[in-house]
Symmetry: C2
Subunit: 313 residues, 2 copies
């Protein structure tokens, strides 16, 4: 692969010693064109976390210029990255486990392996990049499908032999079209080996969201089934609205009346659940809500409020 | 290790062919004593997800009897598990990547490797168990520290060569005492290599929670710093309470007045943020709220409501 542009994204993989990092002009332009390297507010996370190494370099790299990107990689970025790459405990094959995780939902999207070059390229391009053991080559997730994972941060574990690419997926991550690659529950497989009903590995908030969605489907498909509180809320918007207001009031009461923290957690759970039923009626996913919150990170609440256009806010 | 009870938890690791699964009586009793194998409502997740293979087996295993556990493992469990283990694509060393994830927060706790025996034992014991490459032996996370990871579900990826242990950690997972093993941000390291300020890899909701906590700390430690909306809310409980009520009302309004879904996502973000500021004043973490929701999974909302003791609900 030395020196040639390879892969769907067409970057050079000849990063051997990282000082040799060369991004083909076409590839660099593609990367910048995909805005993976921009430093707009939307790409930052809460508080002081940075996605560029300093404001100057950040501005440089956000310009749509392959020349500038190469310059950035070669001059600004390389020495520190080399040192960091040296600190990773690569295994006997020069690899470390790399896990891609959705920055908003926490869903584990996929797991692959990274070598020095894959990690270096991910740091530089902010596209999750792996080393394919079967093809013995680098590959950027999405280079064929365009379903990139835009990396917002990268973490190393305590032993420095495991990596998290914390990012936002563009479309489904799995080659099967599933949102993530983890959709086979061992306990489901043991219970019903023939079952074709895939269920994504999901954490509490998203399991709840899936259950709420299921209840909505059942209203039409299984009208005679045992009624549930969720279905009742779906069928009576006035009840739902009054419950959301009521639960907010009860949460507030835990503060005003100095109720215990167990009560506060319980009231917040009530509020969250009822609000999520309402969101389902509006066809809004929790992931969209979290995306809104993430995009507000880079401003103070006061600045954010002042910047709103609506006079009612 | 053949046949002997090993490790802090003292189970036998002689699982060679899985039909040889033997749990030492002492170990089995310990496991049951730790209630990892109970099937109470609190251990289940939403909807139809199961933690036992069928209700009968589940009841069997929840009894505090090592004999029954061994019987369950040997008679009921083994043939299906063998077939499942055969379907995993173990690498040339007989290993697959195993990632432990917090079922409530989605945080990736740690990553290790599993062999057939480690996965079989995790399935049976519901304690995250790995194969240590350095020690060439099985180890259950927590067997020394007692910081077990109680596994609620296990997922395989599309290629069947990567595993998620979705579970609830008992205490910090990292041997350093950190909540997870991932606390070194590559971009932080590149920016300030000497920085000792560890920051956990956290997704949007928990980054927001950390920012809110930071603002609260700053009220005392940095009183002259630029005020933020969050700080203002902390200092004025009446304002905070009226904002929580107001945002709930605005979320409701998006449904009643048929506002667009972008508006609904934005109002939910507002509500969530203000409610989280209130939770901080009550010293309640979002993880505790999610735990409450998870523990309500196994009941319908109506049953759950009817089961409450408080007459006000």
């Amino acid at each position: 692969m030395s020196g040639a542009c390879v892969g769907g994204l067409g970057y050079s993989a000849s990063l051997g010693p990282i000082s040799g990092l060369v991004l083909c002009p076409m590839a660099a332009a593609s990367l910048v064109g995909l805005s993976s390297l921009s430093c707009g507010a939307g790409d930052r996370r809460f508080s002081s976390r940075r996605y560029c190494w300093n404001q100057k370099s950040c501005l440089k790299i956000s310009a749509s210029s392959s020349e500038r990107l190469s310059q950035f990689a070669a001059e600004k970025f390389t020495p520190k990255v080399e040192s960091l790459l040296d600190s990773v405990k690569w295994d006997s094959k020069g690899l470390a486990v790399a896990i891609a995780q959705n920055v908003d939902t926490g869903a584990i999207l996929m797991q692959g392996f990274a070598n020095r070059e894959a990690l270096a390229l991910t740091i530089a391009s902010q596209k999750a990049t792996f080393y394919s053991r079967s093809r013995s080559s680098l590959w950027t997730k999405g280079e064929t499908s365009m379903n990139f994972i835009n990396v917002h941060d990268i973490f190393l574990d305590c032993d420095r032999d495991s990596i998290i690419y914390l990012g936002k997926p563009v479309g489904p991550t799995c080659h099967t079209g599933a949102e993530t690659c983890y959709y086979s529950s061992v306990y489901d497989l043991l219970d019903e080996p023939e079952s074709k009903q895939d269920q994504l590995a999901s954490t509490t908030l998203y399991s709840l969201e899936a259950t709420i969605s299921q209840r909505k489907l059942e209203i039409d498909s299984l009208p005679n089934r045992k009624p549930s509180w969720t279905k009742k809320l779906f069928l009576d918007e006035q009840l739902l609205c009054s419950k959301v207001r009521e639960e907010a009031g009860e949460l507030v009461q835990t503060l005003l009346e100095n109720e215990d923290k167990t009560r506060a957690a319980s009231e917040m759970a009530d509020l969250l659940y009822h609000a999520m039923v309402l969101l389902k009626l509006k066809d809004v996913k929790m992931e969209e809500v979290l995306e809104v919150l993430r995009k507000r990170f880079s401003q103070s609440g006061i600045e954010e409020k002042n910047s709103r256009k609506s006079p009612s806010k």
